[in-house]
Symmetry: D2
Subunit: 437 residues, 4 copies
């Protein structure tokens, strides 16, 4: 324990309070500091320009919410005899470390990079925590030799104490609560706000994890709805997804060129080679961050391959593709649209895509995941049973599938080339009110 608690200024939680030396040491590791150079929301800042916050800020935020939960549990619901469903404050440190480190394995432009190079940030998180070669592992081992494994098992949800596991990952956990508030603040979209203090007040430890007082039902409901709204308004925004599509196509083009022996052998190729070849070390992975990928792209801006250089320039200078909503039944129309794009001078492999973004606002299919409300007499009621709003969205996927294509296909005359007019014309006849017809 520190002689005097330290604080970090934070716009979401006002202050973040640190009382354990080990937490301070973890923050000061190389692997954790690296999170400053990875944006929390990938390409979302191309839509909401101020969403430039990093995974570093989110990680300390998840820590802080977890700390507040531990404080409340210790103050009001301390265990008296083993197995009574109360909170055992000996679990505090493992909970705090898992909260702080839950995202430490995220890589540069996390999801898109993963998709193209088949990496897995959860596996990397585990490796960073348990591998002998990291500063994080060294700090954790000072607590106890098996402490790194314990922390990793919380994140893997195999840790025996369900209260600790659910604090960090469940349908209403410190992770989600921090990112909703934080993304809301940094985007400037206010949909993600909910009453954090109230939710923390109605949280209670129980024998099977965490439950919520019945009187807090509306606060929990509000959180579910806020999360749904952030998905619909922010996370699934078509322009951000379009920039993700470009990023994916750009990395794929580089990989395709590399495998064909046509990628220039420069700095960028060197850095990404282990990933092109699916044979990378932890050190290769930890070297990357958003800025380093951007540096590769800046390099490629002047590459000879016209597709590589065009996609690099589109990504750096924010030139999104257009998109339109597609239903499942319309899938057979897409090849035709793609060929019209190709006819208009764009390689459809690199200039079109379908992208579906769906999310379950509240999932019941997995019985362990459900949110339970506890009545004054101890009876439990599952959330969707008592909230008509939550019921309406339970186990229903919200989101859409979109088809992406160059804006010239629908453009104004000055965007377009006369020679392709018939293709443009045919293409635009399939589109009405942002939907395919």
């Amino acid at each position: 324990m520190l002689p005097l608690e330290k604080v970090l200024r934070d716009p979401i939680h006002d202050y973040i309070y640190i009382k354990h030396q080990v937490i301070l040491d973890l923050i000061n590791t190389r692997e954790f500091q690296r999170l400053r150079r990875i944006k929390q929301l990938g390409t979302t800042n191309y839509t909401f320009h101020s969403a430039e916050h990093s995974r570093f800020t989110h990680s300390v935020g998840v820590y802080e919410i977890t700390r507040r939960i531990c404080d409340l549990f210790a103050r009001n619901y301390a265990t008296k005899i083993s197995g009574d469903g109360g909170w055992d404050d000996n679990e505090r440190l493992v909970a705090l470390c898992a909260a702080l480190l839950h995202d430490v394995g995220h890589g540069a432009y996390s999801h898109t990079f993963e998709h193209i190079f088949e990496t897995d940030h959860e596996e990397m998180t585990r490796t960073i925590i348990t591998s002998e070669n990291t500063q994080i592992n060294a700090v954790l081992k000072q607590v106890a030799p098996d402490f790194p494994e314990k922390v990793a098992s919380v994140i893997a949800k195999t840790y025996p104490n369900l209260q600790v596991v659910q604090m960090i990952s469940s349908q209403i956990d410190a992770d989600r609560m921090d990112y909703l508030l934080r993304d809301s603040y940094f985007t400037g979209a206010n949909y993600g706000t909910f009453d954090l203090t109230r939710i923390l007040r109605v949280m209670r430890p129980s024998k099977n994890g965490i439950v919520f007082e019945y009187s807090g039902m509306h606060a929990v409901e509000d959180y579910i709805i806020s999360r749904l709204q952030m998905y619909q308004q922010v996370y699934f925004h078509p322009v951000s997804r379009s920039m993700e599509v470009i990023l994916g196509h750009l990395l794929k083009r580089a990989k395709d060129l590399y495998l064909a022996g046509k990628l220039p052998k420069d700095f960028a190729a060197e850095l990404l080679q282990p990933f092109f070849e699916k044979d990378f070390t932890l050190a290769d992975y930890l070297r990357l961050d958003d800025g380093i990928l951007n540096t590769c792209f800046e390099n490629w801006r002047t590459a000879k391959d016209p597709i590589l250089s065009d996609l690099a320039q589109r990504f750096l200078d924010r030139q999104p593709l257009k998109s339109v909503r597609v239903t499942e039944e319309q899938a057979d129309l897409l090849p035709k649209l793609a060929s019209l794009v190709t006819n208009s001078g764009y390689d459809a492999n690199y200039y079109t895509a379908t992208n579906d973004s769906f999310n379950l606002p509240y999932a019941l299919y997995d019985s362990k995941a459900k949110i339970n409300l506890i009545q004054p007499n101890g009876d439990l009621e599952e959330l969707s049973e008592v909230s008509p709003l939550v019921k309406a969205v339970t186990d229903k996927e919200l989101g859409d599938e979109r088809f992406f294509f160059p804006k010239q296909m629908l453009g104004t005359p000055e965007d377009q080339q006369e020679v392709f007019q018939p293709y443009y014309q045919e293409f635009s006849e399939h589109i009405k009110n942002d939907r395919l017809i």
Copy 2:
């Protein structure tokens, strides 16, 4: 004019309203999009972790405040006959463009980079606007052939209409008003808040630029004090300055090695070579951003030169130097302290520094700069004449000079090496209550 105004979501101004096609086109240029990759506050996020916002967000914010001023002036104070001191709305577009572009010449880690490589962001701004080779110049020229020069002259303060010049740069301008509010929001430190709407309401065009209604005196006073507090609490924070010191030393070490022919000839050296040699093109300059410099540093982390690699690692992993306040009379003590640092195993050229950060909260020495309040009958009174608070800080530099050194010099036993104990001991005798004695 756009058929329908467009908006950007912004946490400071709620929405940013765009009505001119030329503004939209400027935002979409390569040079402007590059500002997304340069942080507004350099190393401040090492102290206030959430201060990760870019110069892009600030630039559109300055545009928005300028737009609001133009709207208010046009609505309430439109000129009737030439020279009556009213607002001529034909000046709107040049004001908006100058506001949007006023910072476009900022480079990677702006101030420190400038200091080491003797570049000048104001000159670069002018070059970007007036050079034939930029997308920005091309967009501006569509308005009129001499429009780029006009915009540049507003930023250079040589434009004849003083109202336009003072909107963009004066002691209470759109630039400062946006950065105070924005930096306040993103750091989470609330010192920078003031009543923007009220200040805009009391602004008035006059024959000699912009004046403020007398009844708004307290709002203007509050702005002056808020700015002063942001300097003292945020911009001059010792930890951020320490990271700047490390950054400067790192770049200097690289330059020194390069000039001695000892810098490895890799990607990083290639990028920076034009600057090491003081012979760079606009293209060289525009290629750089914060992420690219970080990529160089990541490269240097494993360099053979121990000082280069150590400073790179210190910068990337946030390992600040300690510092202590120094008064002018104590200057002759510093060589001695530096030699104690050298004796303790650190090359004082790269591990110590003095850094002074001073700011005039309100300057009167330059008579053009003064803030004038206008009485109901048209009489003017200068701000510091009527506000005792402002009077107290007028023409007084606030800030401090600090001496930076490795924390081991004052460290706990585990930080220190026994062999250097006598030097540590002597060093620490000179320091008391954060001051040199």
Copy 3:
């Protein structure tokens, strides 16, 4: 028009802008100033202690939102030829006056008073506007002799221009938007917040009133959900309703005593006599406000009638009844519970009550009321057709019915009298988890 616009400081809208002399004159009338002395939320401040704001603040807020709508409509959607569905700015003044005055007929402790004395605040609003004897009427007549009638007809929804009518009263109008934001701010419960600026941006005039751009669907959805949450969390709070029950019983007791000739003939009786006798003038009505009724209650605190004095003291000193949720099928249990209350020493007529509070979050049964979204090509889609969340609550009453009774019935031993133990016992067997069984 005023030579320079005036502003009022307002925490919800920052400033309220007044440009017409007639608006200023209306605010300065005796009838409008009286709204300062009537709380917006009746007894809600007994639950949320800071909800002490008056109908005055709400009324100027509704004015301000209406003004912003008019500005946006005039700027973007001005009518070109009659009947084109555009906005005719000649309608501005009638819209602003109706917005400002829509609640001017509210009386002291509005709803409860109405219920007991069978007054009608909407009728009173109309009377205040159109009666010869009011200052408001005199101000409005300066615009045109038939202007008071026009303003009244907007509030009565009989005005021919549906755009004006729907601004002031529809499912998404200036009235509701202001009270949600305002009540949210003053209670400190954040459920009522939604993105006002965004909703105003997607509002559009049309031939049949007001529609919303399709792209704004989620903002409208968010508003509907926020409103629902305010009802559930704030407006229907059991403690506030309990205080309303006490207030109603107190006024009823006074009336019963008066009609029986047993109410002391003092100041309070004099003021209320016209209402006891259902024969009151506009002057009688306008004389009352919350403070005057409280003065009556303060008087009755020492009345000889034990029920009158006890209820007065309970109301002034905040001693709510307890309550429990009741379903329709349980209605036949209530007489039994009431008799147990009587057996325990409380006259059930004055110490028990049922109170149902229900609200339709979104109503479709009335085809005129529906919220329509307009597609880029002009097609309309009704909100609940495209929002699963809104669909889930359309035409469904949310709320509950509660049975109120003295807390002694469920109290701790020190609250209770031994002699009534068997009744308490039987009573409490009917209650479990805040529900009747």
Copy 4:
């Protein structure tokens, strides 16, 4: 202690946490509930219309800040041996009760009423706490027979533990911190905001009361400046003071008429008689609140005495006097101006006034009051010694003296009567730019 802590929702502190049964019981007393019916800011809502919050909300806010200070002191600075300057948590309950009750003696329209009727709210606070007849006294006595006296002595600043005394009343105490934040929130003027959490973090108990860590100097400075700005911008606003002047003249007229036997013998006269005769009981005092005085004024609106009825109507319908700033040297001009007012048809005794509002932003003249900063090594430095901003306002009275008069004296022709033109003319020649000349 309560089995589970209770919370009150509060917009300033989010929640107010109550853990002691005695605090809950005090809030539920008649004397404390009465504070709901007395506005915190008297006539300020005539300027800032939303400033309608009561002394009740402020009182629970002061309690909450005090509770947070106690928590921080107990956690970080608990006393180890008597006299070590640490915090003794046995003092908590007396501190909390004193905080909650410090304003309980405030009467209707506190300051103006006091001024006219020579009552003293501090004395009344003491009486309410220590008198045998109050519910508050009964609750406090349950703690210990001498507990009421202890609580009263804290408020009287005679309690031996200076830490407790300074928490409640000093230049930076829970009272001032709550009212600045609260008045700022409810007026919508943002000048009163400062970083409460930061100030609480740098507060420390010491042998001679409370000191502040040196590193928190800027936060304390910001608080001092914020307070100064609230005085200048809100508390001293000329329109609020004008309404206070009218209120004072109205009460004085009533008193004068009563003493002359000319006040109608109605309800209002009965209530105020004990105060007219300077012979009132605690019960007489506790009966009054803002609403009851307004009820008297509503009664007087139709009184035969033209001055009484006119002033009552001016107060209720917000018809302020005009005012102008006066310097000390101009005092001899005032009789002349008053006689011009009389000549114009207004009795200068009731239609003119001088009102001076001055405040010391930071006082050093009283050595006990000074704010001390503590250095890392324990040395103390007094705030104004290290802050140039605070130095600038130390022991300097800020504010002004104003002369109030009917607006007709400066009015537009339609306000004025032709017969008095020469007097108006002469009067207005003495006024320029809101100042007397």
